[in-house]
Symmetry: C3
Subunit: 372 residues, 3 copies
């Protein structure tokens, strides 16, 4: 087992276990969360390998698959798993298949364009994944019919045991995030810095998420859902710039700010933003991946500007980075809108809004198990 | 930590976590599944190390234990864990100890004979583990008294939360299966091919298991138990020939066929086969490991024939491979029958058929916890 | 990813997942166990990195953080996680923060003194962690108000599903313990021996824990809690001397004795010792880590004596080792007493004894979820 394999395995653990169990806290939707996540992963990896192979060579010839292409494909497929968090419980399996095909095509195309037009490296254009996937998912969720307010409250509330399995998923993501952030870096010193900075940012995020969640509540009670979201915010925010940060303090500050933004988002967004725009975000993708991802991209642009000041090429550099970042957001929104409109067609026989978030719609239960 | 250690650790994770939690979906038998599995593993590894040491040298001298012997012993011990899936809930701890001792002796002897008589490599004779273990377990289950039909239905049905922990076990097996299939290969190119092909076969199996399970149900509902079984079928089927397959498409077709066979088996076998023969297969060992293992062995013989055609030695090669395969099946059935007859003696004080599948028979509960 | 990283990752898995879920079996305290454990880890690692950096250089200069310092800090932070097992459910988050700061300062100071005065190696002084942490935790628990006898019984009893998640934690500790025991050894042969001996001791511990637990009960029923504790005892006991033991049999005997001591302790201590002294040990830290740790230290001293006999320096060596060991115990008791007195002050607003072991005191529940 070489070094390559070991990172590839870490990524698979993150994708299959981490992202699968992260979204398993809905009271009646645990089975679907975990199993559909694995289905999306298995399908997505195969599709991404093919796409990567065909788009990266011109003229197209025989497809050569290397271990590094599985690694790249696993990371690309994670974009679908992140987006799925926003629509989970509101779509059926066929709709998810359509989503995999459209989203991965858009994501891989975006990365190809970004590499060829803005000449960014694999690491940099991959780290747009959080922003891309979050806004893709939110746009799709915006197009889908909203859940009925009365019935869902009971189904949406988290239960104790599922929350522990969501905690398990979060822990796996937390532990292996340094592998994710360093997977595509070629230089071993950059890789070491990336592991360190991610580690610091994640450690600070955890401390922030628990203490701020406790301080924000009148009687000092902690909110488990906020914690799941904010714990990972540091890893997301430090992603784009983890190989450039030279001081641990900067990574720690980034982890702190990301944790604060994530908890702030979890408190305010459902009321201010989602209700106004009519978006229903099942698992809080917006404040787990979207906002910290934005912070990370802005930090990356700022750091590149700071470096470019010495090289007298500041304007050019800012334009390049901002262009690449805008491309990711624009592609996310555009392909999300397309997918959303496609999925809201009647032909897919999607679940009715009254049956949202219910494992019973998809699974053959032994008896009428209420599950919990 | 060297490369060797890391594979050894992967195998331990598969055996302790994966196979332990895979069988934990029975409603009232979760504790026993996980704990007895670990007990069997710890005992089995020690017994297999001793057996491997004593049987591999002649004349017997001082036992030298290397890291590779722990690796080999862990893989051998997994045969017991697989067989245990067929008898779980119907035997007590003492009976399991007897089973460990007999089964491992038979399995290690089978591998020694296969190596010396048919001069097969470690990888090839180890990959008979699925067929050997499945038919061993089924024969033992055939000898044991059948569970009473009325009381068990309630106990056997899977519950939501245990199903998630079975999913966790399945995921661990799924993620680390490439390590299992490549663990005993010496050539690094063969090892790389084995990892790739296993990965593809497993990915296709997952997609197959969900979509076929959904298509086979009148209202498109997915069956969680079928999924647990069929997800892994690809890895089992590709095992024997994973280092020989040169095209990803072949591995993917194998994954597809294995998934279909596994789901077909899960639908038909309990009705047609088990009821007629009077076998009760607690966790579906027959269609999770047995049938896909048969497919894998047949594929291996076909591939070897294909290679041998060029070498003008086709008949000899087919005889060798078929002989080695028949030896595994025969040893599995014979030692299974022996063990089954031994275990059905009264002296072991096995649980009464009315108390099958009940944690309460083995565990000191704080109160009369019903489970949940 | 180098060898260093991989061990560091194993340690993080042990600390975050293993120790977190190990203590999650209390009926109503699962959320707090897992989440507070992660909080303590994240805070403890940062504090330990700073302490290690400042105390290891004189005169203090710029702090240089290497990967090995994260590894050392993770191991140091595990002392807090072990101690927390004795006080869990009886303290709030602020009290835990105070405990982290005091305990880690004491532990890192103890290791520095031990290294400079007794010139022990990193591995040797780190392996006092079990004894140090267990007696620190017990002393703190002694100072805190005792739980009321009537209300707690119901809350303390373990439930089925939490017991499975505690089993998951135990399994992760069990699987990665060889990495823990070999993490600080520099010589690759010593490291290999450490991995082997830990593996044997753990395997014997599992077999011992199940069989003895079953034999000790009048109707042969196994106690899940005893099992959680005794399974790991072998790894703890073999820790200090794992690189010195030359024969597998010695490691296996150590695993057997440690398992017996741990189960004996679990049976007798709550009645004889804890009730007399008025200590309430939430998760059995005393017999999981304390007693096997004592056994390990005594074995280490005996082995060093045995080696020193040949070198004619027996008295000096015994004095050195015994001195280092006494220092660990004394520091544990003294700093534990200090922390306990500090924590029993009213200013921390600790939970009232009637509200011990209750997630509801710390967590914002969606509704009045009873948990299960």
């Amino acid at each position: 087992m070489t070094e390559l394999d070991s990172i590839c395995q870490d990524l698979t653990v993150m994708a299959a276990l981490g992202l699968g169990f992260l979204t398993s806290s809905l009271r009646r939707h645990g089975w679907s969360s975990v199993a559909f996540n694995l289905f999306l992963l298995a399908l997505g990896v195969q599709w991404a390998i093919l796409l990567d192979g065909f788009l990266s060579q011109f003229p197209p010839g025989k497809l050569v698959i290397k271990l590094s292409s599985i690694r790249l494909a696993t990371m690309s497929a994670m974009s679908v798993l992140i987006s799925a968090g926003a629509v989970l419980g509101k779509v059926n399996l066929v709709q998810l298949v359509v989503m995999v095909l459209v989203e991965l095509t858009a994501f891989v195309t975006m990365r190809m364009v970004s590499r060829n037009v803005f000449s960014t490296e694999d690491h940099t254009n991959m780290m747009c994944i959080h922003v891309f996937a979050a806004y893709f998912g939110l746009t799709v969720a915006w197009c889908l019919p909203k859940p009925l307010p009365e019935g869902t409250e009971e189904k949406e509330r988290t239960a104790t045991s599922p929350s522990l399995s969501a905690m398990l998923g979060t822990l796996f993501l937390w532990m292996f995030w340094p592998s994710f952030n360093s997977a595509l870096l070629r230089n071993s010193i950059e890789r070491r810095d990336a592991v360190f900075n991610t580690y610091y940012a994640l450690a600070v995020s955890v401390v922030t998420s628990i203490s701020v969640s406790s301080l924000a509540h009148p009687r000092g009670k902690i909110n488990m859902t906020y914690m799941h979201n904010a714990m990972l915010a540091g890893g997301v925010a430090v992603g784009a710039s983890c190989h450039l940060i030279s001081s641990p303090w900067l990574a720690m500050v980034l982890g702190l700010v990301a944790g604060l933004i994530s908890i702030g988002g979890a408190k305010c967004l459902p009321v201010c933003f989602n209700r106004v725009l009519g978006i229903h975000d099942s698992c809080g993708v917006h404040y787990t991946f979207g906002l910290p991802g934005l912070l990370g991209e802005i930090t990356y642009i700022a750091l590149m500007m700071h470096q470019a000041v010495w090289a007298n090429a500041i304007l050019y550099q800012v334009l390049l980075d901002a262009g690449q970042f805008s491309l990711a957001v624009a592609m996310g929104l555009a392909s999300g809108l397309l997918t959303g409109l496609l999925l809201s067609l009647k032909i897919w026989k999607g679940p009715h809004a009254a049956k949202y978030f219910d494992d019973q719609a998809f699974w053959e239960f032994p008896h009428l198990a209420v599950g919990f």
